[in-house]
């Protein structure tokens, strides 16, 4: 049946193919590109959010034969995504801005905007699938391409957001998407991946871009080893994440990893023992369950603690303060405060929380 759908188009290959597939199904489409930064901030950016992305998306929509608009989200994106992300860095954590962007912008502002136009549904080029659970409620499932699966980034969506979402490429693998782009003659068939490149060039630091944008002071400090010996200094804790190897002073005998970041002292603790950055227990806060209510705990499920990490079997228990105590069946590398912990039942997303502290 033909529906009115707004397709969020970055100008990249995935959302272009998503649009082409929907067009084939003869839905009444509009294309929308979110403008996330001012042109003069872009300094020749090739990222998905830049002006050239807008131009490419407009071209694709034109070729496919439906109208395209640019939705100015610059201020809202800054308030809803970038500022919270900086606050996480400033607190010594590593944010997951892509989740916030999906929850608050793509399936927040954009969904609301489309609703005002009388357009019920919003499609994106995410690699994730939608299904129905036993009681007919929408279920969010991993994309079929294991290497590309983006259900992690969508895990904070509510049922009512999922009810209005469409993921046309979720059942495809990336090579199939590229093949479809070629077959549809889309100019984006060979464009590079836009993932993780939002607002920054490859090689640039997202955290440092944020610090400069908000004119925030850096928190410099010492780099210490596990015994507390100072092995170096750094210019700001925002440049570090748990498990990081780059940018650390070389150890005498071995490689080093960031093990802990203290916003109070400014200390970054490093270790030469790769086992020291393995963990099995952590606390997750602000958990949102897709089913709406809390499943009975203790709950056996699997947990993914970072994008592109393998999910691990785990047991989760609610605690008195509403947070979740998560115990993994196997040690996981670099469990990092600020990152999302996403809970799965097999392929199906159960919910997401934010990693608050390591136990």
């Amino acid at each position: 049946m033909s529906e009115r759908i707004a397709v969020a188009m970055s100008g990249g290959v995935d959302s272009s193919v998503a649009a082409a597939l929907l067009k084939q199904e003869e839905h009444a489409l509009i294309g929308v590109t979110l403008k996330l930064q001012e042109c003069h901030d872009a300094h020749g950016s090739r990222s998905c959010c830049g002006v050239d992305g807008i131009t490419r998306a407009r071209e694709v929509a034109g070729n496919l034969g439906f109208p395209h608009y640019v939705l100015d989200c610059v201020k809202d994106f800054e308030t809803l995504v970038l500022l919270p992300a900086w606050q996480e860095y400033a607190a010594g954590r590593t944010p997951s801005p892509c989740l916030l962007c999906n929850e608050r912008v793509k399936f927040g502002l954009l969904l609301d905007w489309a609703g005002r136009l009388g357009i019920e549904r919003v499609a994106t080029g995410h690699y994730a699938r939608l299904g129905r659970d036993g009681s007919g409620r929408p279920a969010l499932l991993r994309g079929c391409d294991e290497g590309k699966d983006q259900s992690y980034f969508l895990a904070g969506l509510s049922l009512s957001q999922l009810e209005r979402a469409v993921f046309p490429v979720g059942h495809l693998r990336k090579p199939e998407v590229r093949e479809l782009a070629k077959r549809h003659g889309l100019p984006t068939a060979e464009t590079p991946e836009s993932q993780d490149a939002c607002l920054v060039e490859p090689g640039e630091s997202f955290a440092e871009m944020l610090r400069q944008r908000f004119a925030a002071p850096a928190r410099p400090g010492e780099i210490v080893d596990e015994a507390g010996h100072v092995v170096g200094e750094h210019a700001g804790i925002h440049a570090f994440t748990i498990g990081q190897r780059k940018g650390l002073p070389a150890g005498a005998t071995a490689r080093r990893w960031v093990k802990a970041i203290s916003p109070e002292s400014g200390q970054v603790t490093v270790t030469s023992d790769p086992r020291a950055i393995l963990g099995t227990e952590f606390v997750a806060k602000d958990v949102s369950w897709l089913a709406g209510e809390l499943p009975a705990t203790p709950l056996a499920c699997s947990v993914q603690v970072r994008y592109r990490h393998r999910s691990e079997p785990a047991t989760v228990r609610t605690q008195a303060d509403g947070s979740l105590a998560v115990v993994l069946g196997r040690p996981a590398k670099a469990i990092t405060p600020g990152q999302a912990a996403v809970f799965y039942d097999g392929e199906r997303v159960l919910g997401r929380g934010w990693i608050a502290a390591l136990a």
Binding site: R4, L71, C73, L109, L117, G118
Partner: protein
């Protein structure tokens, strides 16, 4: 796909005779008008013929016309060029709050340089507040700039009175006539302006050409340097094909002015009568003022104009709102805000503008499509 085009104030289709006139300049007559040889001589002839045609539309002498790339450049050259050449002691600017950004922004830039700039308001119908203009005028004013007709509402501004005020205080006076040219009879001498901007693509000419009328004896300074073209006021090799097309378009506009105006008024009035009668909660912005015959700015109570414009686009009808698409706190048309409307009121408005190719049948279809889209949106969830 055939579009019901109701956005003539944004741009107009190329007239077929204009296209034919341009074909020569795009083909055999490719010379550089500044060259000494015959090819250059021929190109020069085309440019100068166009200059006479363009001057003819506004009652100017050919040597009073400077070709530019379009309305924005003409406005910038007029404002910043006049200010750069202003005598010592005169650096103030008076303009209106409803100008096009091509005037507002250079004025704001000038204010950023530390000079006095006054943005005079308008009444609820969108007419300039002449008393406020007179109060702001004085011996320190270098330039008064007020548009001849507003692009959003079509409301015609009292430029004759503005020019009188300017003359009384010894200031230059500029008028942005981009929207008015080809729609209103214009005589620069009767208007009494020193500078007047207009553009080719608003009157069925090609994009990329515009003109600035510069009254004999008025001195402005160029904004670019590097050539003797256009009396050094606009250096760079002339865009001959576009200028030729612009000239032809002005000639055609001059020829059809009265008939075009009458026809546009009939169609526009029919459109407004039908909309007011059939679509509940509608109001015409600026209806109490003298307006361009082709422009209809309609407020749809409680609706989001942008949502309506996009729904009409999905139905195959092209219209405009005064603002870009924005997620949340979008800024609505500065023109409607200046008329004292609330942000919500201003956001509920859509501009319809008709032109030479608009048919009676299209007006009927336009009304039906608007009714369909409004009914859908009012039925849709909030």
């Amino acid at each position: 796909m055939s579009i019901l085009y109701a956005d003539y104030n944004a741009t107009t289709p190329l007239d077929l005779e204009v296209r034919a006139a341009m074909a020569d300049a795009l083909g055999a007559c490719f010379g550089n008008p500044s060259s000494i040889h015959r090819a250059g001589q021929e190109a020069r002839r085309l440019v100068e013929r166009a200059r006479a045609q363009v001057a003819g539309l506004v009652g100017a002498e050919p040597d009073e016309m400077v070709f530019t790339s379009g309305g924005t450049e003409s406005d910038n050259l007029a404002v910043l060029g006049a200010l750069a050449a202003a005598p010592a002691g005169r650096s103030g600017v008076v303009t209106s709050a409803i100008e096009h950004h091509a005037v507002l922004e250079p004025c704001a830039h000038w204010r950023g340089q530390g000079h006095a700039v006054t943005f005079v308001g308008v009444d609820g119908e969108g007419r300039l507040d002449l008393c406020a203009l007179e109060a702001a005028a004085g011996s320190h004013i270098a330039l008064i700039s007020v548009m001849l007709a507003n692009n959003d509402t079509g409301v015609i501004q009292p430029v004759v009175e503005v020019a009188r005020t300017a003359a009384a205080c010894g200031s230059l006076v500029h008028s942005d006539a981009v929207q008015a040219a080809g729609k209103l009879p214009i005589d620069v001498k009767k208007l009494g302006v020193s500078l007047l901007s207009f553009s080719s693509h608003k009157l069925h000419g090609p994009k990329g050409a515009g003109a600035l009328y510069l009254r004999r004896g008025v001195a402005i300074a160029p904004r670019m340097h590097g050539g003797r073209q256009e009396r050094t006021l606009r250096p760079g090799t002339e865009n001959v094909p576009a200028i030729v097309g612009f000239g032809k378009a002005c000639e055609m506009a001059h020829l059809h002015l009265a008939a075009d105006g009458r026809r546009a008024a009939e169609l526009r009035d029919l459109f407004e009568t039908e909309i007011l009668a059939r679509v509940p909660g509608t109001r015409i912005n600026g209806v109490g003022a003298g307006r361009l015959a082709n422009t209809s700015n309609v407020a749809f109570a409680g609706l989001d104009g942008e949502a309506l414009a996009i729904n009409l686009d999905m139905l195959g009808m092209a219209v405009s709102t005064g603002a870009a698409c924005s997620a949340a706190d979008k800024t609505p048309s500065h023109v409607l805000l200046a008329m004292g409307q609330s942000e919500a009121e201003a956001r509920s408005s859509v501009r319809f503008s008709f032109g030479r190719e608009t048919t009676l049948e299209e007006i009927d279809r336009a009304v039906a499509l608007v009714l369909q889209a409004v009914t859908f949106l009012r039925g849709a969830r909030p």
